[in-house]
């Protein structure tokens, strides 16, 4: 896991996807009058109430402090921690400097909390003790830049103290850097003290330098100090602007009154300028009043946003909920979502909640994904939260509001059962505020046309898996034109290229036709459509670099290689296959990083390993267990060996007195490879070729589909991806078995990587892949192998059904390896 805190109920990442992590400050006997009064009256339930309110206002961690003169801190903290641990869902920050109190709380608390705080006032004696406790109980700790001389004022001194604390914690006491949160402390810029004019600048510089020079550590800041001494309404604005600057500088967490943070968007340009001048001590030179008097003057009379922010009770609650919901979407957290939405709809129309809060949050998710900062499974988790929020709001929308949204019709084309590409598109579209009418798979053009009219679609989206489906899309477009449709059409799928779309599809239709590489490209197209700027895909051949197609291992294909003797000629069908024997062939890297989207991306090697160990491998083990025990994977094979001979660029396969011709392309450039060359010609005495069709059945796809129906998008992707890689593993497994049957299994790979790089004799070539692109070959293959007997059929566009099926021709020639034409 990434460094996190946890309560009984949930874990919170210390470095949240959108910083800062908000730490609620009101449950502090020194900072909140109300909390203090309740504590002094032994009203612990009342204290808890304040904590719950902070949570509802969007706090993600709660600072809890009961150190108050005349009270028994140990007793109070134990009482409070046990109550809070049971009722508050967010993790706690134990705010105490007394080692005995800290230890008692760490013992009591049923999660991972953070201790606030240690410093070097006494030269490090206490800090060393507390670090020991932190290590013993596996907690995190805040370290303040306070030394023997008191609070450091300059950036240099703050950084120097941070380094010393870091040395003590990490080198001496064995903590990990990620267990540390440095608080570079700030003084107020609001008191008019000349020596403090650069207080904000010093703190921001210190944050920047601590992050740069102490890798892996976090930073935290008590925000409100900065504006001490100023009028309450203006403090909120200044605090919020300062927070924004601090986050830019690298701040990870802030101790704040979560309800009082004003979103930057609500602060006017002018207000911001006035605040920045004060923070950066600008414009004080020469004539006229300095930044502080100007600040006070500005906020004295007209202070619109500030006034709005304090207008009426509940305003803070509202802003807290606004932030909380937006975070929940970005971080994919569902707990408490409905409560927060209920607060929002008291102040905002339901449609506005969707358009102004939810959709921008999803947009941010898309941007994080685009920058590689959020992995696909997490995007799907966000979409799950979004879906729930919209489902909760939908009954509150008026009919006309509901129909204002742009409507997209989605279909997988005729002859194609590929569901998941289109469904991922539906997830992303519908959770970005579009209305999607998903009419399923294998949909003929006539039905698409009728449905588009019926539902009044604004845009049509078509999906498909194989290249035949791309050809169907082109035909569909001509039919759409004839029927007089005028909606833009978005096209997607793995076998589609922008070039094909631009050159073959665009001319067949009278409205924009757009190639979409993925769902987010589709989203961009929808936004362009709404803005009136959507145009057809264009292809400029010259602008694109031509891919260097690798090939050529060795030159001339050697003739006269001995022909192995197969155990039988003709086809056989195998249905008794032990799944447990197939699973070791699963390409784990391709599954985790490719199909599932758990890339290392910007994580460190250790963080990635933690993600794998904490989330990914347990998931794989669970699916593997179910594959074996619950029959989720049903491996079946149709395969055979046939006499054959090459004739130029073709292979002739002989069976039952009939000849089947398989033409193969030849590379135009050296070394001019062609699959036919791996087989002997008739004159050379003929040869033997293997074929197989393997499937893992439909159970897993059914399971995946049910997950999709239940809005469990992440699990949907995981289950489907697992099925895909097990299907490939079955092909690998069976290919190995055929090598053994042919007696050419002398040099088998020692590990999985050896299979990836084809470290065995011969090769298998899948029809539709670059060396044998013709899917037409499936017709003779099906005549030879009769895969109908294992439940596999061929659609009118040559797709094998069920989808989790793969086919290949097996060549034994030692030089046979993958290549592209």
């Amino acid at each position: 896991m990434r460094p996190s805190l946890s309560s009984l109920y949930q874990a919170v990442e210390l470095r949240s996807a959108i910083p800062p992590l908000l730490i609620g400050e009101r449950t502090n006997a020194n900072g909140s009058k109300l909390f203090r009064e309740r504590l002094l009256a032994d009203d612990f339930a009342g204290c808890l109430q304040i904590g719950l309110e902070q949570e509802a206002n969007g706090a993600q961690v709660l600072d809890l402090c009961a150190a108050y003169a005349g009270r028994d801190e140990l007793r109070d903290m134990c009482e409070l921690v046990s109550r809070f641990a049971r009722s508050v869902k967010i993790p706690l920050m134990i705010d105490s400097t007394t080692p005995e109190v800290i230890e008692a709380c760490l013992k009591l608390y049923p999660g991972r909390c953070v201790v606030n705080s240690v410093n070097l006032e006494d030269g490090g004696r206490t800090a060393r003790r507390v670090f020991g406790l932190i290590r013993k109980y596996g907690a995190a700790v805040v370290a303040l830049t306070i030394g023997e001389q008191g609070m450091a004022m300059t950036a240099e001194d703050k950084v120097a103290l941070a380094r010393r604390l870091h040395g003590l914690a990490v080198d001496t006491c064995g903590l990990r850097p990620s267990d540390l949160l440095f608080d570079a402390l700030t003084f107020t810029v609001g008191a008019g003290d000349e020596t403090l004019r650069s207080a904000a600048v010093q703190t921001l510089r210190a944050i920047r330098e601590i992050k740069a020079s102490l890798p892996g550590v976090g930073t935290v800041l008590g925000l409100s100090n900065i504006s001490f001494g100023l009028a309450p309404a203006s403090r909120r604005i200044l605090n919020s602007v300062f927070l924004h600057e601090a986050v830019e500088a690298g701040l990870d967490a802030a101790i704040v009154d979560a309800g009082k943070i004003v979103p930057l968007a609500r602060i006017s340009e002018r207000e911001r300028e006035v605040c920045l001048d004060l923070l950066y001590d600008r414009g004080g030179e020469g004539e006229g009043p300095g930044p502080l008097p100007r600040f006070i003057e500005y906020f004295k009379g007209a202070a619109p946003a500030a006034q709005e922010a304090v207008a009426g009770a509940g305003a803070g609650r509202f802003e807290g909920a606004e932030r909380a919901v937006s975070r929940q979407v970005v971080e994919g957290v569902r707990e408490g979502l409905e409560d927060n939405l209920a607060i929002l709809v008291r102040r905002l129309a339901p449609l506005a909640v969707i358009n102004q809060i939810l959709v921008p949050a999803m947009r941010q998710v898309g941007e994080l994904f685009g920058r590689g900062e959020l992995l696909l499974p997490f995007v799907l988790q966000s979409a799950e939260v979004m879906k729930r929020a919209v489902a909760w709001l939908e009954p509150l929308l008026s009919r006309e509001e509901a129909s204002q949204r742009t409507r997209v019709l989605l279909a997988t084309v005729q002859g194609d059962v590929h569901d998941i590409g289109k469904n991922l598109v539906e997830i992303i579209f519908s959770n970005n505020g579009y209305e999607v009418v998903n009419i399923g798979i294998k949909v003929p053009a006539e039905t698409i046309i009728a449905k588009a009219r019926e539902c009044g679609a604004d845009v049509i989206g078509l999906s498909g898996l194989l290249v035949k489906s791309a050809l169907i899309m082109r035909e569909n477009l001509a039919q759409f034109r004839e029927a007089g449709l005028r909606q833009p059409v978005l096209l997607g799928g793995a076998a589609l290229t922008p070039r094909f779309v631009a050159e073959s599809c665009v001319p067949s239709y009278d409205a924009p036709v757009v190639y979409c590489a993925d769902a987010f490209a589709g989203l961009a197209a929808l936004r362009a459509h709404e803005a009136g700027s959507l145009t057809s895909t264009v292809w400029r051949a010259a602008a694109q670099a031509t891919a260097v197609r690798p090939s050529a291992r060795g030159g001339e294909v050697q003739r006269g290689v001995p022909v192995p003797e197969p155990p039988f000629y003709g086809c056989r069908h195998v249905t008794e296959i032990d799944v447990a024997e197939v699973l070791p062939y699963v390409n784990i890297e391709a599954l985790f990083r490719g199909r599932w989207g758990y890339r290392r991306a910007k994580l460190s090697a250790e963080e990635y390993e933690a993600l794998l160990e904490g989330t990914v491998r347990p998931l794989y083990r669970e699916l593997s267990r179910r594959a074996v025990e619950e029959g989720l994977v049903q491996p079946r094979v149709a395969y055979g060996y046939y006499r054959c001979y090459s004739a130029g660029d073709a292979l002739c396969v002989v069976d039952g007195g009939k000849e089947y011709r398989f033409p193969f392309p030849r590379q135009a450039a050296a070394p001019h490879l062609c699959i036919a060359d791996y087989f002997r010609s008739e004159a050379e005495g003929g040869d033997v070729a293997g074929f197989f069709v393997v499937t893992t059945g439909e159970a897993l796809d059914r399971e995946a589909h049910a997950l999709y129906g239940a809005d469990r998008y992440r699990d949907y992707l995981m289950t489907h991806g697992f099925g895909v890689e097990v299907t490939d593993a079955l092909a690998e497994y069976w290919h190995a078995r055929m090598r053994r049957e042919l007696g050419i299994a002398g040099s088998e790979p020692a590990d999985l990587n050896g299979y990836v790089t084809q470290g065995y004799q011969g090769s298998r070539f899948g029809f539709g892949y670059p060396a044998c692109p013709e899917l037409e070959a499936h017709r003779p293959v099906f005549e030879l192998l009769r895969p109908e007997r294992i439940g596999v059929t061929l659609s009118e566009t040559l797709q094998m059904v069920p989808e989790q099926t793969t086919s290949a021709i097996v060549a034994h020639h030692p030089q046979a390896k993958y290549f592209a034409v």
């Binding site: 670099a545 031509t546 891919a547 260097v548 197609r549 690798p550 090939s551 050529a552 291992r553 390409n587 784990i588 890297e589 391709a590 990083r593 490719g594 890339r599 290392r600 991306a601 090697a605 990635y608 999985l752 990587n753 990836v756 790089t757 084809q758 670059p770 993958y818 592209a820």
Partner: protein, 52 residues
């Protein structure tokens, strides 16, 4: 740094280069020629992920 193809699992190791794609040993992943693709599955460089 070694990079892995997320589509097929091929590992690009700068110490070895990609002889099949005509890339000599010692070429960093970032320095691969434009248009370079995975020698096994032809996925583009965007499909590669940090390995190790």
């Amino acid at each position: 740094m070694k990079m892995i193809c997320t589509n097929c699992g091929y590992v690009y190791d700068p110490a070895e280069g990609d002889p099949m794609g005509g890339v000599e040993a010692g070429v960093a992943f970032e320095a691969l020629p434009e248009g370079w693709v995975c020698p096994l599955c032809y996925a583009g460089p965007a499909a590669f992920d940090a390995y190790g």
